[in-house]
Amino acid sequence: MRILLAEDDFVSRKFMDKQLSKYGDCDVVVDGEEAVEAFMMALEDGEPYDLACLDVMMPVMDGYQVLRSIRSIEAQRNTPKDKCIKVIMTTALKDERNVRLAFKLGCEAYAGKPIDVEKFENILRKLKLL
């Protein structure tokens, strides 16, 4: 599995990278703009990501902007639904309005930090990534 991790906080980044590397190749970016660039580059290289884990609060572009950009790019390219990247927002923001916005923008899951690794893995199975 190819995974894109967007996380600006060093400690969170180390933890998530370690966890996600168990499931596949993990590329790490530190701001939202890089996340979109990495997503595009992977598409153009013919090696798209299967999963993106996006922090919400990031420099340059926030996680919601990244998510919206990703979905817009997929819509423009007429990417079939089953080939669209699965997105999990990983954030300490657990306010319901944030969750609703993320769902509205098209993420598959919203994981509150600190991440429950067992449930996270369960989600990956439900999303047929494992």
Partner: protein, 392 residues
């Protein structure tokens, strides 16, 4: 962490909504305990209650609750389609009670910060057995068999954080002797130490460093702390002990009491507010969160594409202040709301209207507004050097 930890309002809403539904179910049970049958309204109500609880639990991945609710939903779907609310009524009421009690028990565990690890298989198997007998009776009456209720798997999931199910909640009040000077600074030292192990930390008085009167408040009433953490009492006390306090009241409390303390402190953002869909939509319209709201402004020169500190040197005499930018953002938000109001207008729902041209135009409008939103959001976090340079 880039974000501050917040108490989980999504989980709170789930608990509040589920408990509300169960209370409604309890009223239906009480009404039907001495009745001969479930009427159509009650059958529909139980079906909807279980459908809602199942859906919410599925999203939050409480699979045992979702499974129990789903099984009862199936039964009431069957009742609704076959109009057999009078068949085996008393046994059916007992099964409803059993499922309701199981779900209530699991919700209590979640409220107390425990894992909802109950095994639903016993109540579910008993219900399945009853359902088989029930269907035999109904079939023998030669009623039309309903189509299978389609299972809707959730497309989106909310993963509760470890914090919610594996953490302790404490209420701490530190009292300092009247001879202690700068108690506010001592209190600040305590919060500084606790922040490292806190998942959530609330204290009052809040402004310890710049409000001189906070010291008087602390000496008079004590320094009040609410903390959510995975640390033990002993670990916490080792961090607080150096605070030269006269007395420390230290209580471990439940998650529910913690939330109650938060509301008593007047922290409105922590209030559990459960609204109808219309009220949610209204709240979103009045104070929407939009993509771009959580961009972190960085003071570093590193990755910022335009340099904030060069703005005033490059563009003397041309000012763009945050107030005007915020007004622009507000206008764009209002534009989005107005667009939604037009597109969702009930006047468009008239039968027989050919809306194909309207549809194309509205899609284009939505696309333009989305681009405008994004552009404004980007402008808000970067100095618009390029935009104004083009005008020269």
């Amino acid at each position: 962490m880039a974000e501050e930890f917040n108490t989980d309002s999504t989980l709170s809403t789930f608990l509040h909504e589920s408990n509300r539904k169960l209370k409604k179910l309890n009223n239906i049970i009480l009404k039907n305990q001495n009745a001969d049958c479930f009427d159509d309204a009650d059958i529909n109500a139980v079906f909807r209650i279980m459908h809602t609880i199942k859906g919410l639990s599925d999203v939050l991945m409480y699979e045992n609750i979702a499974n129990a609710a789903h099984r009862l939903e199936d039964v009431f779907y069957y009742l609704r389609e076959t109009h057999s609310g009078h068949v085996m009524h008393r046994k059916l009421v007992a099964k409803v009670v059993a499922i309701s009690d199981f779900i209530k028990g699991e919700l209590s565990k979640i409220e107390n910060g425990d894992t909802p690890d109950g095994d639903e298989s016993e109540v579910v198997n008993e219900l399945a057995q009853f359902f088989n007998e029930f269907k035999e009776v109904v079939n023998s009456q030669e009623r039309n068999m309903p189509d299978e209720d389609k299972d809707e798997m959730p497309a989106q999931f909310y993963i509760t954080s470890l914090a919610e199910e594996d953490s302790h909640f404490y209420k701490i009040v530190i009292y300092y002797g009247s001879d202690i000077v700068m108690s506010n600074i001592r209190a600040y030292s305590v919060t500084y130490a606790l922040e490292k192990i806190a998942l959530d930390l609330i204290y009052t008085p809040e402004d310890l460093l710049s409000d001189d009167s906070s010291s008087d408040v602390i000496l008079a009433d004590g320094f009040y702390i609410l903390i959510q953490t995975r640390a033990t009492r002993e670990e916490l006390m080792s961090l607080i002990d150096n605070s030269d306090s006269e007395r420390i009241d230290f209580d471990e409390i439940s998650a529910a009491e913690y939330r109650k303390c938060l509301t008593e402190l007047g922290r409105e953002e922590e209030l559990i507010v459960v609204m109808s869909d219309d009220e949610y939509n209204q709240e979103d319209e009045q104070d929407p969160i939009v993509p771009g709201d959580y961009v972190i402004r960085t003071k570093d020169e590193g990755k910022t594409k335009t340099s904030e500190k060069n703005w005033s040197k490059q563009q003397p005499g041309i000012g763009l202040d945050y107030e005007k930018m915020d007004s622009l953002v507000e206008l764009v938000d209002k534009l989005v709301v107005a667009k939604d109001a037009v597109l969702q207008n009930s006047d468009l729902k008239v039968q027989g209207l050919d809306l194909s041209n309207f549809q194309k135009a509205s899609e284009q409008l939505s696309s333009i507004i989305a681009d405008l939103q994004e552009a404004v959001a980007l402008m808000r976090m970067t100095w618009p050097t390029d935009v104004f340079q083009k005008k020269e």
